[in-house]
Amino acid sequence: MLGLGVDRLQADINRLLTSLFHQGVLDEQFLQLQQLQDDTSPTFVYDVINIYFDESEKLLRNLRLLLVDREFSDYKKIGLHLNQLVGSSSSIGARRVRNVCVAFRSASELNNRPGCLRGLEVVEHEYHYLKNMMHELFQLEQQRLLAAGVRYPM
């Protein structure tokens, strides 16, 4: 029974990952992260993704604070934040978030405030979708490890 539980959970994990790759939410860079994880660093992917969430939320907060200010004109700052978000999203394989950040950045380069506001909404939407999917993935992984009798601090 224990083995079947582990197998079923592994199948669920594989199905979720396949779906995320198929939707373009993740790309091969995520696989690179998985390959860096082993028994000596069993929570590497989880740790990296959590750093990404922490840093991204700071950047998204800063972007929103800049754009809601009616007097706002510092598009260069917007560009710098977006460069960071593009870079970090690329580093973890978050392809859709990266792509919408690139589109947002184009609007900021044209000093287009309405375009930037729209861009921010799209980025926030994609980011939250990714975050929810990652949480689902990590929950399944945690359940799989418990079913297999393995305990890692998470």
């Binding site: 000596t40 593009v86 870079g87 690329s90 580093s91």
Partner: protein
Amino acid sequence: VYVRRTQFTIFFRIQNHCLKTKSKMATKSTGDIEKTKSIEMKKKLNVLIVDDDPLNLKIHERIIKTIGGISQMAKNGEEAVIIHRDGRASFDLILMDKEMPERDGVSTTKKLREMKVTSMIVGVTSLADREEERRAFMEAGLNHCLAKPLTKEKILPLINHLMDA
């Protein structure tokens, strides 16, 4: 007495990215006889990772570890300069991010070369960087430039080249 035997096979994964440092040749001369003793020291690849992004620091540190190296981190260029100030720092490889607060990658690379740092310095650029920015980074004193995201596959050829040298 019946003795039962059990055979175990143990597999070790050997990390082979250990660098041979220069051989120390100690020559002792006693009259007409010259004795030469060579001491070869082996050490792990020693890398300095210079980046303000905690995500990149984590990933790059892990990449270096999985290829058998050890790493130290500097959160910006100024920290990297301070690490080298007493002249005792000895890194085989420095991974240098371009955009950093306090002192950026271009300025840091120039400064380290002025300080006669001979480590291989590999710049890590983003896709947002224009061609002229990359060129300026190379001209600051880089040995190579790689685009993010960094992967094992991108860095291994450089490390193999370092080992061959």
